[in-house]
Symmetry: C2
Subunit: 231 residues, 2 copies
DNA sequence: TCGCTGCCATACAGTGTTGTATGCAAACGG
DNA sequence: CCGTTTGCATACAACACTGTATGGCAGCGA
């Protein structure tokens, strides 16, 4: 029945390996939540029967464990790498994170949100998510310390920035990429309490103007920003 | 079998009404997510059989619709009432919201988070959540306008404050109430860009000092903190 | 070529949940 | 006091999903 060309998700020809099942499970998790990660549906999607699954895994719970480890191993490393690659400057480090969040390529907020939903009623997943959250908040707190904030202020601002990002994805807001870039200086100001310096403005690859000329006028005057806006 | 005293959730003696089932569904939703809102478990919890349920409702989906309307009708009104009761002052209005979020009595963040999880894979729930979110963000944007922020700045700060709150509950952080009160001035500063004025300090019932002595310098929007604290 | 192993198909059993049909008892209006 | 309605119990049918047992086939090494 299977000829290697009809099928579902395997990237390498005929037979499946564990990674194929995990990838299929990831797709199902993101698309429909943990409740839709079912053995029979995954098998149908991969073009095999459940017999294959029970050869690769002892049961469904083992697949879920592997999926959780996959998320923990893949979806937070890009953040730390991007920050490390940005050098020592606090503004550059923060801007690197923001770019990662907006671009959504190396880091998948949908994967993140799906695991977070899962974690709300699965203790094992909750423990993994808590570990990851603590790491990310610590990363952000270091950046705010670099930006000149002391102890508790750095910690609270790190939380605000991180919770804000989690909430943004939790609301599943759909905005054009250009719109998000246009709002960048406003978010930068609200989250850091500082103006976005010129040397990080190019980092986000903003297509519109710098937004700084607008923001000087709008911050206290009540004028609406002029110039072209994305919808 | 049922004698009105053994049972589950009904508040009024013998027979059940629709509201009893909805309240039971709400409890199950908060405790275990929408996947645990099952007719047979609710019936067992209420001390009746499923036959009762199918008399009050045509099916499970009708219960879920009623539950969604219940959330939409009950869990956002306290916010608007608290803000309205706080008078015209922007600081007082914002502080009233914060108190509501911290106290968690009139407003139930657990109910909120459970519905939000549900909404991630149920279009009808997603539509309701989006309506509520828009209302709340508009409410916050009005407060930030009262605090002196113009157009886009007020909107972005409203989003940051609201997303932050959603993210906080999404992470299911457990902190002592006193700790949250102690951090209040820091959050107030980070979220509003302004110092917490004396006349709203008592509103939250904070027991310790305001944290202002620990603050090294003002962090008003646009003003760069002096000194660099690389950690 | 022979036997072994990896990978999968098939068939069967069991559980959890929904929905439906019908019966039964208590409450209620005449 | 009786018939009707209300609220629930019981029994049955159907589906979705998990897990197990077993058989078969292709490929590979000796």
């Amino acid at each position: 029945m299977r000829d290697g060309s009809e099928g579902g998700g395997t990237a390498r020809g005929q037979r499946l390996v564990r990674a194929d099942w995990i990838e299929a499970a990831r797709g199902a998790l993101v698309a429909g939540g943990i409740a839709s990660v079912k053995v029979d549906r995954l098998a149908a999607g991969l073009g095999v029967t459940r017999g294959s699954f029970y050869w690769h895994f002892v049961g469904r719970s083992e697949l879920l464990e592997a999926l959780l480890r996959h998320w923990e191993a893949t979806n937070t490393a890009p953040m730390e790498q991007a920050v490390a690659a940005a050098g020592p400057d606090g503004h550059a480090r923060f801007a690197a994170l923001v770019r990662l969040w907006i671009d959504e390529v190396a880091f998948s907020p949908a994967y993140d949100a799906a695991v977070r939903d899962w974690a709300r009623h699965a203790p094992a997943a909750a423990a993994a998510v808590r570990r990851i959250d603590d790491r990310r908040i610590a990363l952000l707190a270091g950046i705010f310390a670099d930006l000149g904030y002391a102890g508790t202020d750095a910690f609270v601002r790190a939380r605000v920035a991180y919770f804000h990002q989690v909430g943004y994805y939790a609301l599943a807001i759909r905005e054009p990429h250009a719109r998000r870039l246009d709002l960048m200086p406003y978010y930068y100001r609200a989250l850091t309490g500082l103006e976005m310096p010129p040397h990080v403005r190019g980092i986000t690859g903003s297509v519109s103007d710098d937004g700084r000329s607008r923001l000087r006028k709008t911050v206290r005057t009540g004028e609406r920003p002029k110039g072209r806006r994305a919808k």
